[in-house]
Symmetry: C2
Subunit: 765 residues, 2 copies
Amino acid sequence: MKDLYKRFLSSEEWLIREEVWNKNLQGVRESQFTLGNGYIGSRGVLEEIPYDAYPGTYIAGLFDSSGAQVPELVNLPNPIDFKISVEGEKLGLVAMDVLKHNRVLDMKKGLLARRTVYSNVRNERFDYQSVRFFSMDDPHVGVMQVCLTPLDNDTNIDVETTFDLSVTNKGILSEGRKNHIKIMEVKNIRDIYYASVQTFASKVYVNYAGILNCCTGDITQNTSERVLHMRAEKGKTICFTKVFHIATSRDVKPRNMKPHALKAVRKAAEAGFENLLKKHVSAWEKRWIGADVILKPDKELEKALRFNIYHLLIAGKDNGSTSIGARTLSGEGYRGHIFWDTEIFILPFFIYTNPDAAKGMLSYRYDRMGEARRNARKRGYKGAMFPWESADLGNETTPPWHRDLDGRIIKIHTMDTEQHINCDIAYAVYHYGLATGDKEFMMKKGYELFFEIARFWASRVLFDKSKKRYEIQRVMGPDEFHPIVDNNSYTNGMVAWNLRKAFELFEENKRCGEKWSRDLSERIRLSDREAKRWKSIAAGLFIPYSKRKDVIEAFDGFLRRKYIRIKELDNNFMPVLPKEATFKDIDTTQFVKQSDTVMLLYLLDGDFSHEEKRRNFAFYDARTLHKSSLSAAISSIMALRTGDIIKASRYLSYAAYMDINNLSGNTADGMHAASCGGTWQAFINGIGGMSVKDGILRFNPLFPKEIKCLKFHIRFKSYRISAEIFRNRIAITPSLKRAKRGVLRLEAFGRLCEAPVGKKTVFRG
Amino acid sequence: MKDLYKRFLSSEEWLIREEVWNKNLQGVRESQFTLGNGYIGSRGVLEEIPYDAYPGTYIAGLFDSSGAQVPELVNLPNPIDFKISVEGEKLGLVAMDVLKHNRVLDMKKGLLARRTVYSNVRNERFDYQSVRFFSMDDPHVGVMQVCLTPLDNDTNIDVETTFDLSVTNKGILSEGRKNHIKIMEVKNIRDIYYASVQTFASKVYVNYAGILNCCTGDITQNTSERVLHMRAEKGKTICFTKVFHIATSRDVKPRNMKPHALKAVRKAAEAGFENLLKKHVSAWEKRWIGADVILKPDKELEKALRFNIYHLLIAGKDNGSTSIGARTLSGEGYRGHIFWDTEIFILPFFIYTNPDAAKGMLSYRYDRMGEARRNARKRGYKGAMFPWESADLGNETTPPWHRDLDGRIIKIHTMDTEQHINCDIAYAVYHYGLATGDKEFMMKKGYELFFEIARFWASRVLFDKSKKRYEIQRVMGPDEFHPIVDNNSYTNGMVAWNLRKAFELFEENKRCGEKWSRDLSERIRLSDREAKRWKSIAAGLFIPYSKRKDVIEAFDGFLRRKYIRIKELDNNFMPVLPKEATFKDIDTTQFVKQSDTVMLLYLLDGDFSHEEKRRNFAFYDARTLHKSSLSAAISSIMALRTGDIIKASRYLSYAAYMDINNLSGNTADGMHAASCGGTWQAFINGIGGMSVKDGILRFNPLFPKEIKCLKFHIRFKSYRISAEIFRNRIAITPSLKRAKRGVLRLEAFGRLCEAPVGKKTVFRG
């Protein structure tokens, strides 16, 4: 038999392969093989839905709270549901003998292809091949094709394919599995199978329209049947093509939804598989041009990096006002909620490769500022206080408690204490403005966000009269091993930066004297006096420092906690918790889940001397267990910057392979988007040494031994820049969309220089 | 808080209670607490559908084969689906703290009532009470009521109640969970929630129409919403009443189904909870009058017996042409298939308490005789050969193979070898005719069935010329430890009886010389010559006998298998497999799963002397492991008849408590109907000593020590008989529907006597 889909596939460096079926990895593969286009995410489930399969179909921003503690990303009906049975025997990996099996995720084209050769109870063989994609060209359209060839005998087959309406959300123990949708209509309309559902609480309609085409060689026809009984002849391939269209009442007015869907699916089906695929592939090509990173010589590491970028690409959505959850649209971990992961870890990739998507993610925050203001007010603060976990409405959606397996109730503190989310958002806004030069966004939304957050912090700090300093008490830093601490180094450091920058931006805007700036100040009633107060708080905000150790102290009294030496590393060179300690009383030790101080050093890199960074990194790295998927990538960068090349490589690997090797053990619940984004930063900002200072793009590469070359494209202000980075050589080719001439000023190897537009300029270090 | 449903409940001897929630028993309770009315069976699932709950809703005779090896009872949408959550916390046994919990199955009224007091994360208490029933008056109607009272604070509640369309059939490993229905329509029609589904392969429509009423004390209103957000006030009870109607396209013409359902559910809802309940209870009363058995003095055993009878009552359906599966409508064990369990174990209860239902079960076979004839023809035999497992169409539905957990394929032989199903059906037909005197059924269906089965056997036997005897080779008896044996004692004994009786009945009918008899003979082309051949085969059919042991040999060469003594009994006094043997090579031993010979002695009791029975029972009982749920009841009767009083009591207990104590460990897959029916026989035919010989009803009671008295009602011919049986005294009160005078001739304590109609006559032993 011919491999039908081989001709569609890209070259090997773009392919993630499953070569054997391993039931224990089913959930992991489902997350890894997720397809999507920013609008929709569909887990890489096997079409026959074997035992313990977890179909997941999610639309960005579509949450529902019914029957749940807090809103959760709705698991929608599964269009990838295709069951064939041969005289009562189901063709499936769990059910039948498998002579051959492989699946391929083609990251370049966003395709999932499969081939399985089954043998039934009578030793008759069946060649099963399938391919599917969710169109990057029209995000509402999905296509799947299944081809079956009996290899030994003619046989009767039953085919069953629907939009599986029986899906549920996993929920948590105290909720049970539950569904968030009610079925509103299910109907055959000529050859179109139509289904409409509505979410219970958020009242969003979602409709599905599909056309199934069955091609037996001589005859090609559409069928409205969802169950087909057919005769399959030996050696002849029956090919099913299912084209479907999914839309919500947020995309189309409810009363237009049905005619719109019927028309759209008809149009798509008439275009046909090859045409739909062509447009999809060409849309993917455009995405990759700006996003791919070529790495030499380690092909495996390059593929791992590409895998991380692939998952960022399918999560990113141009414009709009939705953001990306901590597990993207690839699983239900954290119920699809949006954390600081988005602004600090994921956003930079989009700022530099797809600023439109980055703008959408920040608009998501801006559009929910009403809730953030109410939240601040409710707690007695001013300005805008964003929720630690955010869903559709922007209110606080951190579950207040969790019931564990033995019924114990565990209160969750993060929503009250992880207030650093606010400086993270401010940092992201500033970073976006700096790198994109998007004055319009900043004027309309950015500055307001930035100032309102500063205002929150100014109301949040306390002045200690005796010590004559500002303090922030009772917070949690990124290091969640120590809940509720005073003067957390990360929080205080970032807040000081936030307030100082807010003052500077206010002054700058005032200087420009434009109307929008005056309007803004009036609208949010911002005065010189308030801005000056920001400046003075920033100057007086206490950051704990240990003179004895000559390091920033993670928080007040951190050094009084017990220090235990890490004695052992695991197979991935990650620290093992010494026997003297337990996770139960980890807060009594100096072990951190991820280091707050290292995070601060990374984000405010320019504010610290090399020696400070070196000392602090070494000190905290000896205490970091990296039990967060956010830890390794940033540690890799800081190890590199402080000269610890061995650790830099170890952490880089750990971050890059996090999900492809299921290192955290829970990839089945969805991809770790922060690790994907962190990995990208580790390559571009770490090895490539890219940063922006004083409006200037800088490259100060720091290559570990095993890497020789890094090629990538970035967007900076109005430039599209192609960069080839070597240890001692940088080649920069800037271009402009609307001009053929011009010059990009940049810093390479610490020297200011210029790269003319349209030309490759080489700088040597 | 008041116990709202206490006033509805019967006295304690009718109640099966669950006093604590035990997750491990969830499935068992679901089977035990099944509600039904012969038309529909609904597992006793907790309304909130906790983790691992298995909702099961089955309609008698509604099978579907799509995606399955063989047809299976379709798990239909679950109308018992009612979820309440309190600010995101689900009220449920798995989810919340439970201060108090109990459920009560009221067997007298077919009611399942529940009360649970929950405490949420803020220690607020909620009193949750519910009751439900499937009307015995109108089998299409079901009613559930849920009442909630917040005990401590006012609170916001979310209520979600639908017909859960996401149910699936469990299937087997090689199939995976699958659904057999497609959704055709889901709609709110004013205050009615309407859903229509269709089975995939059998193309049966099933529709659901429901009305939800919500009563908050002051306001009572219907709502078409399936999700309600409400304010619940402290101390005030909110009461939801859901009335629903379920029908199939077999009950109503497809085009009339929808208007019919809407009208019917409206009518039911308007009648109201109390009225519906009243009619339901009164219909149940009628059922119990003819079926209840009162037992003195052991109240617990009486309740266990009643529990078995309850499950027979909810499985039995008047008239029609459906039969009862081995696990009734209480689970998916054996996929709802019909085995010999029905004719030999279940049917007698119906023959003597509800002959109409018994007639329906035999009509089920008669109406599928076309398939049985084809089956015989296909295998080169004559007459009618019934399938070992039967579903809707009457073709053979035994799965041909089974794939075990490590992928090994195990061929299943029962369909080819357990041909005794045919003599079992013949026996049941004869028994029905004898006990009911239903000449009409016998003329129209019974004799034809009987003769066609005899004809099959006559073509199945082989004549051994050298030994001058008829043999039956390559069969499996009820003892499935020995697959494929020659001259199985049970099969050969029953076949000889079948052929002999067939000859006698043929001769008798011929003597009566009536037209129907001549017509029948012509229709099935039955000649004197053929009938005479039956007689001679019956006379020459070999039944293996061991002269050395002076016992019937279970099959050719049984005594050459290894004999191992049973050394140990378990806690239930059931034999433990000795260490020298393993189940894997059990066929090399003399251990039997259940004894074929004992079964034969029981069914053809009159053909054996007391001494023969005693010897054979003792011999085989020492070799029986009772690994079938069919074994204990019959062993109990034969132990009693042969004087082994201790064993009789042990086996009686084991059979009576089989499902109430989950003795077989798989009650979760459904009730063991054969054990329920066998238990009834153990009391009535065993202890009560009831039997029919030469058209005369006989009572020869045999009381074990612990039982003093047995009272029950039976139907015999046109009589309704009330019997009170004591060790040495029998009181019989016969009545006739259409006459006030007459006399019942019967045998009591071995003596022929007469009991006048309308009077209690006492006979002493």
